[in-house]
Point group: C2
Chain length 181, copies 2
Amino acid sequence: MTKENTQFAILGLLTSGCNTGYSIKQMMDGSLTHFWKISYGQIYPILKGLVDQGYASVRETSQEGKPDKKEYQITDMGRDALRKWLEHPIKELETTKNELLLKLFFSRHQESQVTIRHILQYQQKLEDRYHTYHTIKNNISARHMSQADALYWIITLDYGLATTKAAIGWCGETISKLKGE
Amino acid sequence: MTKENTQFAILGLLTSGCNTGYSIKQMMDGSLTHFWKISYGQIYPILKGLVDQGYASVRETSQEGKPDKKEYQITDMGRDALRKWLEHPIKELETTKNELLLKLFFSRHQESQVTIRHILQYQQKLEDRYHTYHTIKNNISARHMSQADALYWIITLDYGLATTKAAIGWCGETISKLKGE
DNA sequence: GTGGACATGTAAGTTGTTACATGATTGC
DNA sequence: GCAATCATGTAACAACTTACATGTCCAC
């Protein structure tokens, strides 16, 4: 049930300073994007669903200088459900679709120069991602934020940093291997 | 277009000794599963589509001691299309949904003991996966197989080994960090 | 006679994305 | 007057999974 997780991702963000569909989307894009993505097409229906289930409440508020918005608030029931979900153990490891590896698998049909070019481009993208994670990490340390919030946020970033670094290393080794052929 | 990639994954396997829907599924589950998954619900319609596009041909054959099957063969047009697809550069890095990281992001709502238990279980699963990759790698080296096939197969396994190892290391460090809190 | 490997296929459902529609307000 | 940011929403589509339906042949 990935939908359940997506639901709780949104419910969780209601406890992290986000209380409109718009701000949830922004937070997702900025901070959870490397392990959970979401579109408006999901957010608004799910927010409605959370209210239906009693996990959240809404009120329409008007602001000065900005359009009206719907403010969502997590309820006690929502908090209980969130804690229960957190306790629930993780079933299985997820696997990503990886277009580079797929192409690599069939690369005997191709000249190794082209393969090397693909890997180099991939490596560049990994390095960009690595630097993005670093920048976010530095921003968190520099900014306000409650300690409890920041601790776990940094831990998830460290996962991204560690695995991305390993992938960058693999790119280098693989290119050497292919050049030696 | 992930579907395009899935299509070429199947077309590619027609060049790697698989020529029935059934054997394609087996190969996928055994060797490509860590970066590309597929179900029968996709395989059979796509095989039909490949024939419609002129990328493959079929013939029904009967076997002794086994049920009849449809043997698919890649065509010259299919080979051209496969090479063109291989040349096409990779657009973007994929991101996996990761339930552990999602839960971790909200783990300030939870006692750190429970969080540590989750990470330990995750680490165990990563280690299982790591050993599976190793076993497959050893089997490839030990078995027949053309050198060209084996080289790229091993490279994709090395990616899995490198990133999984990094993730295992992160688990250890994170647990230490949380115990120190 | 039953379980397992081999073999093909589809219908319904799930999950998610993309593109579109709408509109307030601010600053240039 | 136009772009940007803030804001909400949906309909159509895409990709994929799950569950089911069907059947052969072999070995125990």
